[in-house]
Amino acid sequence: MHLDAKIPAGPLPQKWDRHRFELKLVNPANKRKYDIIVVGTGLAGASASASLAELGYNVKTFCIHDSPRRAHSIAAQGGINAAKNYPNDGDSIWRLFYDTVKGGDFRAREANVHRLAQVSNLIIDQCVAQGVPFAREYGGLLANRSFGGAQLSRTFYARGQTGQQLLLGAYSALMRQVATGKVRMFPRREMLDLVLVDGQARGIVARNLVSGDIERHEGHAVVLCTGGYGNVYFLSTNAKACNVTATFRAYKRGAFFANPCFTQIHPTCIPVHGDYQSKLTLMSESLRNDGRVWVPKTPGDKRPPSQIPEVERDYFLERKYPSFGNLVPRDVASRNAKEQCDQGKGVGETGLAVFLDFADAILRDGRAVIEKKYGNLFQMYDKITGEDPYETPMMIYPAVHYTMGGLWVDYNLMSTVDGLFVLGEANFSDHGANRLGASALMQGLADGYFVIPYTIGGYLAGTRFAEAKSDHAAFTDSVKHVQERTAALLAVNGRRTVDDFHRQLGLIMWDHCGMARTNEGLAKARTLIQELREEFWRNVRVPGSEKDFNQSLEKAGRVADFMEFAELMVIDALARQESCGGHFNEAFQTEENEARRDDANFCHVAAWEFTGDGKEPGLHKEPLVFENVHLTQRSYK
């Protein structure tokens, strides 16, 4: 199968305008004849649902939570980028585009990223009009701040709760459409299969998480906005319910999975403190604007930070990267923290942490200024660790945070399955091998507010649909498949809990497919995953019954998918014999320990095709063509 990204012709700045003109339109009176299924209600799903309903489509929206407002976009702290150039510091659509492509280590598609930068300004307009209380200057105009990976201030923010405010804005737009009747909301539903009729995505099978009923929902298109798969590592900054099931089930139905090994390890998280730990907490990287990262110069120095004199501290990011300093991109910051800890310079009880110190900033700006900027983050840190960061430096360590990989989509955000669109973190499209800070919110909302409303119309207007009601054989087959799988999980009745297996899987992935990878480690991980998966289906214990509110069963289904998906990540990591962005294979590094890309052989998207259980997945390559930026070795020195 030839992967056609359907990138419009013409110069980069005109591609999106031209494409919108060329897309077929659905007559306003005909829009009500189309049913669209949206799965997930984070930034992408809520904004898509609302926008499509406003256009007149009938939308059915699904989420696994009790309310669409709970989706994990809500936890994003730092901000959202846009090329408004309000601070007059030299920003432009072109610069935001360039920074994003470079930040992604030249593994993203030019045309998609440029479109993202183009619509970024519209997102800010939209959110302000919805009542999102962004930070403002005294004159009443919008405030901006700088953020990791950028040398100018283009980030809009609402204290440390930007994701929450943007999500509640999108959620309010969604609720407004629920009230009009254009969106039917299905909370507490988990999509367990994608239904194809004549090769087109025509519906989903979902489990009602309260009653346990398996439901059939039909439509003319399916839009997946189900987020990333960071929880394959068990410990991550993702919410507990985040999972790969929806996208992985779509993969098994024919949607290609792109670049699954591209995961982002975020540098500023609260370190792990015990083996009962259930998740990791991110400290917004906006903290790196004022905090200085350091370790003691001498390995094994266990003195408290206050007793380590200035000359015996190594501010390693400032030393190694004088022009970006503490604001280097996330992958660079994370890898450097690991390097320091590997050299025995890590701090804290476990030795797996570095200091993030605000003493100089407090001295310079006063405590009140720092409190205003980061008060809620300092408070959160204090609550979790019992230490006061105004008095003693924070301790941070990298943690899994975001996944750049996802289902392959073309320029229209349509997957390799006709009628299956994928938005937000669930797709692979815009961040290449590393995402810059404040870009995830931008992408989720760009896809939902300003891309899918156009491209889905182009698909619907140009497609003929066969009759496919929920009693169609394809639905019946799918329901049977889902029920058999659920029954199988309940029938094992072994001796280990689901979480126990999940923790072990996570450790395998963290050790061998985490911040630094080796071919030997990856090969070993593959065997370990296969063994663990085999044991899972023989020895897992899932209490309770199918026809009930059963959280253990929910988890078991998700972990079963992670067990298969983890192997795909490892296969992808092994196939990519280069280092780029968040994928760092120790065999491919420069003399200064930076990622060394191989543009001659790996300047492509790796898109994996499911070929059957127990069979090797098929690799399809989409070459990445750079006509507007020159590929360089990233340098933040």
Binding site: A50, S51, E54, H65, D66, S67, R69, R70, H72, I74, A75, K84, Y86, N121, L122, I124, D125, Q126, V128, A129, Q130, G131, P133, F134, R136, E137, G139, G140, A158, R159, Q161, Q164, Q165, L168, A173, M175, R176, A179, M185, A239, K240, H273, G274, Y276, S278, K279, T281, M380, K383, I384, G386, Y449, F450, R495, R541, P543, D548, F549, Q551, S552
Partner: protein
């Protein structure tokens, strides 16, 4: 430094809405004081699962205090005794060895129990559907800096917007009123110039829906403010009352 404590848990178990429900007692042994409250429940659930019993159903998601999914009563206090804290951010270092903890669901007529500690809070979504938004379609927004918003108003709007919709205010109120929740949204949008055109309609519609959903009235007990994990002020309730009365005089819809 972390240490290990032993606790006794009295936990509400209820198999479904039709079940009468009862307290059951469980030991929680060897709990590290670095654990979060939910991690402590995880440990108990792992044990119950291995013993062949059904684990305790409780809701949670982000575990960093922002999604609003978690929340139970702990010794009669929503989200436990610590001020300004969600249950997931309550750590076991705030408890002592030998403590007995009574853990129950948020109770209100508008929040029917689904199972154990899980309740149905969809009434809060219905209140938002009634008017907790600004009516603007995608694409029709003017340039973002067209309307300046004085910084202090933006800050007060943000104070109100910090509500996470957890329902602790309802669970703590002797009347099971949702006034703090409603007032937070009404205030956020009333403070911003963008929200003024619909302010009257919004206040009336949201209050009516709150009543219809079975929430009680506000009689100034202030329990909501005390228990709110985001420390939303009852100043917002005063503002809601002003908006509501104003709307009563001016709105054509009343």
């Amino acid at each position: 430094m972390s240490k290990s404590i032993h606790l006794t848990l009295k936990i509400w178990r209820q198999s479904g809405p039709g079940d009468k429900g009862r307290f059951e007692t469980y030991p929680a042994k060897g709990i590290s004081t670095d654990m979060s409250f939910l991690e402590m429940l995880d440990v108990v659930n792992e044990q119950l699962t291995l013993e062949g019993k059904e684990p305790i159903a409780f809701e949670h998601d982000c575990r960093e205090g922002i999604c609003g999914t978690c929340g139970t009563m702990v010794n009669g206090r929503a989200h436990g005794q610590l001020q300004g804290t969600t249950l997931c951010q309550l750590h076991m270092r705030h408890f002592s060895d030998g403590d007995t903890l009574v853990i129950e669901p948020f109770r209100a007529r508008a929040f029917p129990v689904i199972k154990d500690l899980v309740v149905d809070r969809s009434a809060l979504d219905r209140i938002i559907q009634a008017g907790g938004y600004i009516s603007i379609n995608t694409g029709s927004a003017p340039e973002a800096n067209t309307l300046p918003v004085p910084q202090d108003r933006a800050e007060r709007a943000m104070d109100a917007a910090a509500c996470i919709g957890c329902g602790a205010c309802v669970a703590s109120c002797p009347n099971a009123s949702a006034m703090l929740f409603v007032s937070a949204k009404v205030s956020q949008l009333a403070l911003l110039p963008h929200g003024r055109p619909e302010a009257a309609r919004r206040a009336i519609a949201m209050v009516r829906t709150m009543d219809a959903c079975g929430f009680g009235n506000c009689s100034n007990h202030r329990e909501c403010e005390k228990t709110c994990p985001k420390e939303i002020s009852i100043v917002n309730i005063a503002r809601l009352n002003r908006e509501y009365y104003k709307a009563g005089f001016t709105s054509l819809e009343n």
